[in-house]
Symmetry: C2
Subunit: 211 residues, 2 copies
């Protein structure tokens, strides 16, 4: 199957500002579609089905797994989380660049199924700034913050598996850089085989005509 | 030697508009330096030493070759053409992205010496448009135009050796895309090893401090 859009997988430490960055991407540029995950956990206050997640039953989720209907999935704290394949493929076919926010294990699984997916890692400008942002939320206990930092240490080990890193210091600048990375990817020769083939044929015809 | 800048090699059919595009890049963005070639051919009217080429004697050129002072060189029509290494390395070390306009054989030689160089191929929107531009110059005979088209057929065979292609339809748009490609390249993990190493260390220290 030939995809016109690019699957853009975004990972990064908790507190790196991925959520805000994704919103900015959607607002600032019109070529993106955000993938919505499917989960069996219950909606939290303010969460909306189809916007934040597709909330489904365990049975419905396992049926999806059986149909190979998920790009990737995982189980955390007794709940399933996964990426429905259909929406992703529809949007890619329609020429949209699909952004998928996901942690590293999922990102690597996506890369297996979509080898041309772009893997991007969002980083805070410094570890101290990461800590400040986690504390600044004011909603987390010291224990949670410590766990997030420990998790960041873990995740930092996988950065080299990513195609690109971006540093989220200034939101607009970071969104611009992310966009540049996607624009660049569209210019790889393998994504322009049709155009290259056409111009080769046209050149051949022209040269023969000149003789 | 660690380079902070990126070596950007630009090739493309004669008539694809590389020269104008390079000028636009230099005007529109401040991170670029244009590499100036060295040649043993005589200056044409209006050409300036150090701007269009470094004009040197055959002996001086061959001395450069002997000192491994050229990134690449070739001999056309009894004249040498080459890229002085010193200027390129100075600019890269100073953090400039150095643009090198060169044909495919030279581009591949540069890639051997600088494996992290970015190879970009500039294409016209169509073969017919390429012909129109070659004819439109009004300075070339039909014979020259035919030879250029034949050469384009040759060069088109090598496009897959390039990292990216850009289509020069709208000058500003094309320059923007070229710039995006260079911006993206700066975000590859291997170009940010220092930053990644630092943040890993900082995270380790923070986590230990929290315990």
């Amino acid at each position: 199957m030939k995809h016109k859009g690019i699957l853009v997988v975004v990972s990064g430490f908790s507190g790196a500002g991925k959520g805000t960055l994704m919103k900015r991407m959607i607002q600032a540029y019109d070529n993106y579609a955000l993938s919505v995950s499917m989960t069996t956990r219950l909606p939290r206050e303010g969460e909306e089905d189809g916007r934040d997640y597709f909330f489904v039953s365990k049975e419905a989720f396992e049926e999806k797994i059986g149909q190979d209907g998920l790009v990737e999935y995982a189980c955390y704290c007794d709940n399933y989380y996964g990426t429905p394949r259909e929406y992703v493929e529809e949007q890619l076919a329609a020429g949209k660049d699909v952004i998928l926010e996901i942690e590293i294990q999922g990102a690597l699984k996506v890369k297996e199924k979509f080898p041309t997916a772009l893997l991007l890692f969002v980083m805070p400008p410094s570890a101290e700034e990461l800590r400040r942002r986690l504390v600044g939320r004011g909603t987390e206990t010291e224990e949670v913050i410590r766990k997030r930092l420990e998790r960041a240490v873990e995740e930092a080990r996988g950065i080299e598996s990513y195609d690109y890193i971006v540093i989220n210091d200034d939101l607009g600048k970071c969104a611009g850089e992310l966009h540049s990375i996607v624009v660049a990817a569209h210019h790889a020769p393998f994504r322009n085989e049709g155009f290259i083939g056409n111009i080769r044929q046209e050149l051949d015809v022209l040269v023969k005509g000149e003789k």
